[in-house]
């Protein structure tokens, strides 16, 4: 895998040509060059749920009656629950990764749920009206946490389980009540709430346990998307800075990732399929003898409250910020987003007996060669700028690198360029099954703009959504297809798909305020029509050596048969865009009309964009 990457880098470098100066204007009169048609995109884009704009229905909270409020922002995880018994498509649950006081919705973060129907004629999605059991009527509903399981905060990732069961992850790690902005920091008793406010949904086995208010944060929390209420905080999976997880098809086994350095990999196995209130909890230790899973007794509530301590006692395997987890074809994939220089963040746990994941040891060995001295994952030199996607195989109980972020070129070719595909700090991870074929969805969340994570001179982070064909056996970065870029300043989060394989849903989180409405708000976007399109570049798209352009109308990409500088001119021959050393370009900014495209050799073709 690594070798492949390196050689790809060298080839790219070798082909790089002398930069071409494109004339600011070309004469386009009396001249008919080859014409390339770019048909209109068959994809439908919809902005389903806009934070701070759409109105949500609330429950009676903090003594206020049931009412309406503007939805919270900072959309993150998206859950999809199919409506198997009805005529609608299903329920969509959206996390709010924030902490804010809100008299009506409840303090902290939270979730919003809504139901969609697929329009028979166009396949687009329609948000439908609902009446819930508690009498609330409308389109968008705030999930009630405050009155059920206690407030929630920084709802980042989550889990869509079998039958569309939904869990939300609370990532807001708090060390004391003083860190909470809660209006009520009284002790919290599981099953009853605090002395001031009831939070009635309990948990068999833990009911009656009294904890500090801050200790009621940082769990996976199951909700009911149909009734917009929380069901339970999953105390038996441990109190951890959770980001993501997945439930395996057996409906018993759960894998969970913690966003931390060290981040531990956790497993829960239910006694009975579908009942996650009883079962065993484990932490991953790749060098254990026998099973690589070390049990942490969840009948002792202290073990669950202090899960990290128990993981360290178990000498668990350490990762560098685990994020989302997804099951595809029986394998478990997870993003390890990375931290530039983890150094001291995990040296203490290492000294206490924890072990570095094998790929970090391998990286440290590679870097030792590079630096000419011994590097360990906690050396100040050790770097992890880009992160990666990992694979865990339940059959062998081993983790390995599936796609490494980058590229970082450790060889020194004479010249190169900003790679047209750069994967940095993968975060959200999910899948879509289109016409029986599985694709992985990878969301970026850049940890910085250095080390090639953004092009030079561009300080703004641009986060992208990539799609990867899972039938490719040893995928490289070249196999990734960029399918969406979010507005300036935004992070792309929550990518998921509808079970019919037609729609990809994702969020644009915290965009810059300067973007025009609705792009200035966090929002849930639906792109429909994936069952109708070709993804990427078909084989045999090019014949012969002459300059050729192949348009993919769905992703608004132009592919070229060779690496080149290119310029785009408008209908009157004025230069609009220049691209250096590219094999494909994104033309989603081109309004329908006539354009010209010229390559470094001066070959010009006409572009007819529909």
């Amino acid at each position: 895998m690594k070798k492949l990457l390196l050689s790809a880098g060298i080839i790219a470098a070798g082909l790089s040509a002398q930069a071409q100066t494109f004339s600011p204007e070309i004469d386009v009169t009396n001249w008919e060059p080859t014409t390339i048609q770019v048909p209109a995109s068959p994809l439908i884009t919809q902005y389903l749920f806009i934070g701070g704009h759409h109105v949500v229905q609330t429950t009676p909270t903090y003594g206020n009656p049931a009412d309406t409020a503007l939805a919270k922002q900072w959309h993150d995880f998206i859950g999809f629950t199919p409506d198997n018994n009805g005529t609608d498509l299903g329920w969509i649950s959206v996390n709010h990764e924030m902490v804010i006081q809100n008299d009506k919705i409840g303090d902290g973060g939270g979730m919003t749920v809504f139901k969609v129907r697929r329009d028979a004629a166009t396949d687009s999605l329609i948000v439908v009206d609902q009446t819930l059991n508690d009498g609330r009527q409308g389109k968008f509903f705030a999930v009630d946490f405050a009155n059920t399981v206690g407030e929630t905060g920084m709802n980042c990732g989550g889990i869509t389980g079998p039958d569309g069961r939904i869990w939300t992850a609370e990532e807001w790690w708090r060390g004391s009540n003083a860190d909470l902005a809660d209006r009520d920091t009284g002790d919290f008793t599981i099953g009853t709430g605090t002395s001031t406010y009831a939070a009635a949904n309990g948990f068999p086995g833990y009911n009656g346990e009294t904890i500090k208010k801050y200790e009621n944060y940082n769990y996976m929390v199951e909700i009911d998307p149909r009734q917009a209420v929380a069901i339970r905080k999953q105390y038996n999976w441990g109190r951890q800075p959770f980001e993501g997880g997945c439930v395996m098809p057996d409906n018993k086994t759960v894998y969970l990732g913690a966003d931390n350095t060290p981040g531990f990999f956790t497993k829960f196995v239910a006694d009975n399929a579908g009942d996650f209130t009883a079962g065993k909890t484990y932490v991953y230790k790749h060098d254990a003898t026998g099973s690589k899973w070390v049990e942490i007794d969840n009948s002792d509530f202290d073990n669950m409250l202090n899960f990290n301590t128990q993981a360290v006692v178990a000498g668990a395997t350490m990762f560098n910020r685990l994020e989302w987890v997804v099951e595809i074809d029986g394998k478990v994939y997870m993003t390890e987003t990375g931290r530039d220089n983890p150094a001291g963040r995990w040296s203490g746990a290492a000294a206490a007996g924890c072990v570095y994941a094998p790929h970090h040891m391998q990286r440290a060995m590679d870097q030792s060669v590079e630096f000419g001295k011994t590097i360990t994952p906690d050396s100040s030199e050790y770097w992890d700028y880009y992160g990666r996607v990992l694979m865990y195989d339940p059959a062998t109980e081993q983790t390995s690198v599936f796609v490494e972020g980058g590229p970082y070129f450790s060889v020194d070719p004479a010249v190169s360029s900003y790679p047209d595909k750069h994967l940095s700090n993968p975060d959200g991870l999910n899948k879509i099954t289109v016409n029986g074929k599985n694709y992985m969805l990878i969301c970026e969340d850049l940890n910085g703009t250095s080390k090639g994570r953004t092009p030079a001179g561009i300080g703004n982070r641009t986060c992208e959504l990539f799609m990867l064909d899972m039938s490719i056996s040893n995928p490289t970065l070249n196999d990734l297809h960029r399918i969406a870029v979010v507005p300036v300043g935004a992070e792309i989060t929550g990518a998921t798909s509808t079970t019919d394989g037609k729609t990809i849903l994702f969020n644009s989180q915290h965009p810059d305020g300067g973007n025009p409405f609705p792009f200035n708000n966090s929002m849930t976007v639906a792109i429909t029509g994936w069952d109708q399109v070709t993804i990427g570049l078909p084989e045999n798209a090019f014949e012969g050596d002459a300059f050729q352009v192949y348009p993919n109308p769905a992703t608004r990409t132009l592919y070229f048969n060779e690496l080149s500088d290119v310029a785009i001119y408008n209908v009157s021959g004025k230069r609009m865009n220049v691209y250096r050393n590219v094999e494909n370009i994104d033309i989603s900014h081109l309004q329908p009309g006539v354009y010209y495209i010229q390559n470094a050799a001066g070959v010009t073709q006409k572009l007819l964009v529909k």
Binding site: A19, P24, H53, S380, S450, N577, R580
Partner: protein, 630 residues
């Protein structure tokens, strides 16, 4: 046939060699190899400094001179390195010597400062903390090595060289000649002279190539003049007004001309987003230097913009936004006081005062964050805090939307201003309209600006002396950066700084003001101890009209503020304040110098764009309100 081909090839080869001599090849490859070489030299210096520090026979004098050489080797390449790798420069190489919080981390993590500036502080502290310095030297060598490794595969184009050069002009003006990154050393002009020389060497490669004799002459002459001024200059007496007017401003325009003459693409052709600095501006000291659209999303060229401005003006002065229809934005932002209100703290609804001083609004939109405590990351949020505050508008959106939608006149105005929104009144249209109004409150035509742009001679000797003090000895411009004179950090102008000054309850006592500022603003990422008592660095244009000063409005006039700084803030006056970012040393300014500074700040006034309340307001159908001029 074969022979023919060979002959043809050799001809081609000859031609290539010939043309190379005639410089028809773009200089970018030459520049790239120079860059790699210069970076290598910097890395070698960092390696040798590390070794000297580790060697048995180290001595402090030798170390200090080696450190100077190390800094100069960085300065030779700074304009390219900081353009290409700004985050690395900030984080590891030459960032401010202050703690930060880790970017994009799941929890708040404090990152201690690294790089040359922190090393310099340690090197000049007694006694020398050698272990700490050794660690920093090791880190620097490692990080520069990393950057160098990445640089070898970094391809750049002519466009980027021009952007780096012009950004270099901004950096040398805003940070170089002000001594921004050399607080402890006494040769503050030697470094900019080195930067200048190096930038000139790179820039001149394009002159031979351009075939534009007049431009060539202009650039060469100005560059040489700049070199002479810097080489002969002394930090305290250096005439910055002359340097900016005669060298920087003309070159900033001439390099743009050269870029266009050579037909290289510009950033607008490769990047679809907006950038903070408007590349097409010929001047630093002008209203179009920064790109309004980047900061606000406003589109001044669109037809609807005129209507947005008109609507925004009505909304700004109309009490309809407040719950009880009793106050408007203008209640605390008076046009004749540069849109501040002249009070220490503004009057609160229901009596008493709000907790802080109302800032002026000229150029206010050119910011990354708003409020004295930087808690709002966009104008829309800033307004929201005022709307919700029980001490201010005490209202909510839905009430405001309803009222405005029930007024036929307002409804029509919203339709005109936001045709694509079908006249919908929402948070977006409300805030965009008010921003469109505020965008007109530009102040970039002061006497100082016009003098520096060579549009007028109207400036006194005392004002020039004041400018030089401001950008030199008095160190004002190391926080109030040019050309905004605010805490918006050059050369990217993407980030607002805040400072811990140690402001007192009032200038006559030595009781520290108890306001915790950023630390207590409710922003999780700002809950770091070093952000206690930290406040946004405000812009100083039109400071003449915005008294009283500081976040608590406790300092009645410019004299009291200048006196506070002259004494080194709280720590300088013997009241210890952990994490004070204002140096505690006295500035040792004479009464005459203080007066010159004041005269310079007064010369920065420009209220020519003042807009007063409109004569009439739209009719409301459901509510009645009394409109008073604050």
């Amino acid at each position: 046939m074969r022979k023919l081909v060979i002959a043809f090839f050799s001809l081609l080869l000859l031609f290539a060699v010939f043309t190379a001599f005639r410089s028809t090849e773009s200089p970018v490859q030459e520049i790239k190899s120079r860059y790699v070489e210069d970076l290598k030299a910097f890395h070698e210096q960092s390696e040798s400094f590390k070794q000297s520090l580790n060697s048995e026979d180290w001595d402090e004098v030798k170390l200090k001179s080696e450190f100077k050489a190390l800094r100069l080797s960085f300065k030779k390449i700074e304009f390219m390195l900081d353009y290409l790798q700004p985050q690395d420069v900030k984080d590891f190489i030459n960032g401010a010597p202050l703690p930060k919080t880790e970017r994009n981390a799941p929890r708040l993590v404090v990152v201690e400062p690294k790089g040359l500036q922190r090393m310099e502080e340690l090197l000049f502290e007694e006694p020398l903390d050698r272990p700490a310095l050794k660690k920093l030297a090791k880190d620097l060598e490692y990080q520069v090595g990393q950057v160098q490794r990445f640089s070898k595969v970094q391809n750049f184009s002519d466009r980027q060289v021009f952007e780096a050069l012009r950004q270099g002009l901004v950096r040398i003006t805003a940070m170089g000649i002000t001594g921004f990154d050399t607080p402890a050393s006494d040769e503050a002009l030697r470094e900019p002279a080195t930067v200048w020389q190096s930038m000139g060497d790179y820039a001149k490669l394009y002159l031979a190539y351009a075939e534009a004799p007049e431009l060539e002459k202009e650039i060469e002459t100005k560059w040489d003049l700049g070199q002479r001024l810097l080489d002969q200059g002394d930090f305290e007496t250096f005439n910055r007004a002359e340097f900016i007017r005669e060298v920087i401003e003309p070159l900033y325009g001439a390099l743009l001309d050269l870029h266009h003459h050579l037909a290289y693409e510009t950033a607008a052709e490769v990047y679809r987003g907006e950038l903070p600095v408007n590349y097409e501006s010929r001047h630093l000291f002008s209203g179009d230097f920064l790109n309004l659209t980047y900061y606000t999303g406003l589109k001044p060229k669109e037809e609807a913009f005129e209507f947005q401005k008109k609507l925004g003006r009505l909304l700004f002065f109309d009490p309809v936004l407040s719950g009880d229809l009793d106050r408007s934005c203008a209640s605390c932002h008076h046009p004749d006081k540069a849109y501040s209100d002249g009070l220490p703290k503004s009057v609160a609804k229901g009596g008493g005062t709000v907790s802080r001083n109302a800032p002026g609004l000229y150029n206010a939109l050119y910011a990354e964050k708003f409020f004295h405590d930087l808690r709002a990351d966009r104008m829309e949020t800033q307004m929201e805090h005022v709307i919700f505050s029980a001490q201010e508008f005490d209202s909510d959106y839905r009430r405001i939307f309803r009222r405005l939608e029930e007024s036929e006149e307002y409804q029509a105005l919203f339709k005109e201003a936001f045709p694509e929104q079908q006249g919908r009144v929402n948070r977006y249209s409300l805030s965009k309209a008010i921003m469109a109004f505020l965008s007109q409150l530009q102040s970039y035509d002061s006497r100082v600006d016009r003098y520096l742009r060579s549009e007028s001679e109207d400036i006194s000797e005392e004002e020039v002396a004041g400018l030089n003090l401001f950008m030199g000895k008095a160190a004002c411009a190391t926080c109030h950066f040019v050309p905004t004179f605010s805490g918006l950090v050059p050369p990217l102008y993407m980030e607002n700084e805040s400072e811990v000054l140690g402001v007192f309850e009032n200038p006559d006592t030595k009781n520290l003001d108890s306001d915790l500022g950023r630390f207590a603003a409710g922003v999780v990422q700002d809950e770091a101890p070093f952000l206690k008592n930290s406040f946004k660095t405000p812009g100083l244009r039109n400071v003449e009209f915005t008294a009283p000063y500081f976040h608590n409005g406790a300092y009645p006039d410019l004299e009291s503020v200048l006196d506070f700084y002259n004494q080194g803030g709280a720590t300088g006056m013997g009241i210890p304040l952990e994490h004070q970012t204002l140096p505690a040393d006295s500035l040792e300014l004479s009464a005459q110098e203080i007066n010159a500074l004041k005269q310079f700040m007064l010369a920065l006034s420009d209220t020519s764009k003042q807009i007063n309340a409109p004569d009439s307001f739209p009719k409301m159908n459901t509510v009645s309100r009394k409109i008073s001029i604050y």
